[in-house]
Symmetry: C2
Subunit: 422 residues, 2 copies
């Protein structure tokens, strides 16, 4: 085993896992390194943040996926650099792991467009900890409002602002509004949670810009029906503990959530190759790093285009297609077969939900909205979860919410509890 | 409603909830104060710590339990004192909440017998955060061992010590041993997790002292079958980052768990009344605080005896009986009916599990051990969970583990990840 071609994969997201799957049976040994012990099904992370499902329902220990693949070694470690000359990745504690072929699939994190000082007030949503932080803040805001006697402060505690109206922002705003209007009203005695304001702010001209204009207009109508105020064409110019400035108007809002921008992980910097504005490594048509034929970059940390120049979106299906493609390239190189042609992204469509009963689907030619779209969205997401256990658990949580209106995981956990009292 | 008799309950554990339930329909208004937003089903907390079930499966938002009881107000707040003269509880932020009748049901926390400096190395198990801390440390120990090349350090990383052999200690040790021997072996490539040592240390002469001697002997045999080393009659004399001193022998062990002692919450101090050695308020035969007829103390924070002097154990059924009893006393006082006699604890029995297939049950006359006892234990615990959702979710997690040998919630979350590298 030790003398086999050694593929090192950094990152156990959708791209990294698909690559390892694609190499099943190939004459390689694989080392998969991630700084977390779990793969995260990010498309449903917003449901953890909004108390619908539990953390463990969308996260799986990466190493448990390869119990039947003795050639795959999983390591918990944080890569801090790549030594291309020495053909090794360097871990933060100085350990080096040599490779024959390297695949960087290290993803992206949220970006504040030069305003990192906003992060403490407007957390983003990329990890399980981000999700439990947002969950805690949303729930604590209602708790504090119940105790608060100053009406202005109470109003600010009951104002929730979501910044950025892509699918994640829309999904978060919709569920928070539903919580305030449908789940919580009977449980508070001093406040009326239906008075809560949920504001969705988008700097661009319309929400869900990846969808067609009519679907985007439908989404606005559905959000407004749920009680969300949608503000487009106005950027957020400041985030503080007290609230948010939208354009030039200050809005008292104690709970802010950031869903506006992403920044690639530093893979391009490790390799010292050019990157685009969002930090994504600009790769060749076969997804190799320029000048490094044995280094591939895939997923959210790679800048790839399709259909004559459109950027490949940072979504799970794109990362999976790239992982599968690179597995084919590595196989062809090892067997001496003709390599596959350039990577070609096939866009399968865009999906987004608005609250618990409506969704929009844009497959280009085929478009759908409403309850049927929601069912298709739900079934597709359950199908893509890993393993029977999670499929069953998420389906049960949803079914339970559907029947009872109650959420499964309304927990305030970790510190901060009451500390930063309004 | 505002002119009704005001019952303030501090603590949403088993005792506090049972009291609120018992007052349904009584001519009172109730304010229930807890510093957490959730009620926790502590008897299964060890299963969260050992990755078998998810946090949200055993925790419910307290306020959601009273949605149909408009006379019950739930507040998230931390009580820091009682003003008996002014008949008010004082919250940490200075807010005061007046009462006509006060019930303190504030529980207990773990105690280190004057060695609080051990806590960072040997966390106890009382809250959800404690459980995720232990879960993280156990999982990280295996991860670090996989990366470690020094054999001594690797052995210390693979040595787990549980201090205290009551039901919680026995349950933790059993599941950790099962993980090492049955769940994890196929997932690691450099270490053999079956080499892991799990040591259960008890200062007293035998484990599970609340059970009969033959059941306790059976538990030792079952634990040893799972691979646990049981050491009785030797106290732990030191806990450090490197390991533990058992008697006068140092054992390198990077993961320690404290299950040895409890300390009552400071209710007795707030009331300025006598307490026993564990800090529990010594209450009257009707569970009132001496000299305060309108203040009751119940559950783990009260020292109560039965059968001519035996201490009532700190278990859920005891707290529930006390909550129900105090509700009866309050009802009788308000209606002018004859008050119930002194509180009498009825001990229903003791249960403990050893691993995933064996348990012991001691109902005094009726004793049971083995697989059937495990099924009874399981059904009883599912029955006592609150609500259909949780019953179903826990049953599913167990069923899944039973079928697949896999655990549902093997997540390393929160900071500390890799920081304190061995």
């Amino acid at each position: 085993m030790q003398d086999r071609h050694h593929v090192v994969v950094v990152g156990g997201g959708f791209g990294g896992l698909q690559l390892v799957k694609g190499l099943a049976g190939a004459p390689v040994r694989i080392t998969l390194i991630d700084r977390r012990n779990h793969h995260l099904f990010q498309p449903l992370l917003y449901q953890v943040a909004t108390t619908l499902i539990a953390t463990s329902e969308i996260a799986w220990p990466i190493r448990s996926l390869w119990r039947d693949r003795p050639e795959v070694t999983t390591l918990l470690g944080e890569v801090s650099d790549v030594d291309e000359a020495g053909k090794a990745v360097v871990l933060r504690d100085g350990k080096r792991i040599g490779y024959d072929t390297l695949v960087l699939a290290t993803g992206a994190t949220h970006a504040y467009f030069g305003h990192d000082e906003w992060e403490p007030f407007a957390p983003g949503l990329k990890t399980l900890e981000d999700a439990t932080t947002i969950r805690r803040r949303v729930l604590l805001a209602f708790e504090r409002a119940e105790l608060e006697e100053d009406p202005d402060l109470r109003a600010a505690l009951l104002t929730f602002t979501v910044i950025g109206a892509g699918p994640t922002g829309v999904e978060l705003a919709g569920i928070i509004a539903e919580m305030a209007h449908r789940t919580l009203p009977d449980e508070f005695r001093r406040i009326d949670t239906r008075q809560a304001r949920v504001i969705l702010v988008e700097a661009g001209p319309r929400i869900l810009a990846a969808f067609s204009e009519d679907l985007s207009a439908y989404a606005v109508k559905e959000l407004e029906r749920l009680g969300v105020e949608v503000r487009t064409g106005t950027p957020v110019t400041s985030c503080t503990e007290e609230g948010v400035v939208i354009g030039d108007q200050f809005v008292g809002s104690r709970t802010l959530v950031w869903a506006a921008g992403v920044q690639a992980s530093p893979a391009a910097r490790w390799l010292d190759i050019p990157a685009d504005r969002a930090g994504r490594a600009i790769v060749g048509a076969d997804l190799t790093a320029p000048g490094h034929a044995d280094v591939f970059v895939i997923g959210d940390t790679a800048a790839v285009t399709y259909d004559g120049g459109k950027p490949v979106p940072g979504i799970a299906p794109a990362a999976k297609q790239q992982g599968a493609y690179v597995a084919d390239v590595i196989r062809a190189r090892l067997s001496g077969d003709k390599p596959p042609g350039d990577f070609r992204y096939r866009h399968q469509g865009s999906l987004a939900t608005i609250g618990r009963r409506a969704a929009i689907i844009d497959f280009g030619r085929f478009k759908l909205k409403g309850a049927l779209a929601w069912w298709i969205w739900g079934i597709a997401h359950i199908y893509f979860l890993i393993g029977t256990r999670s499929r069953f658990a998420v389906a049960w949580s949803w079914f339970w919410t559907y029947l009872s209106g109650q959420h499964s995981a309304r927990l305030i956990t970790q510190k901060e509890t009451l500390k930063e009292k309004g």
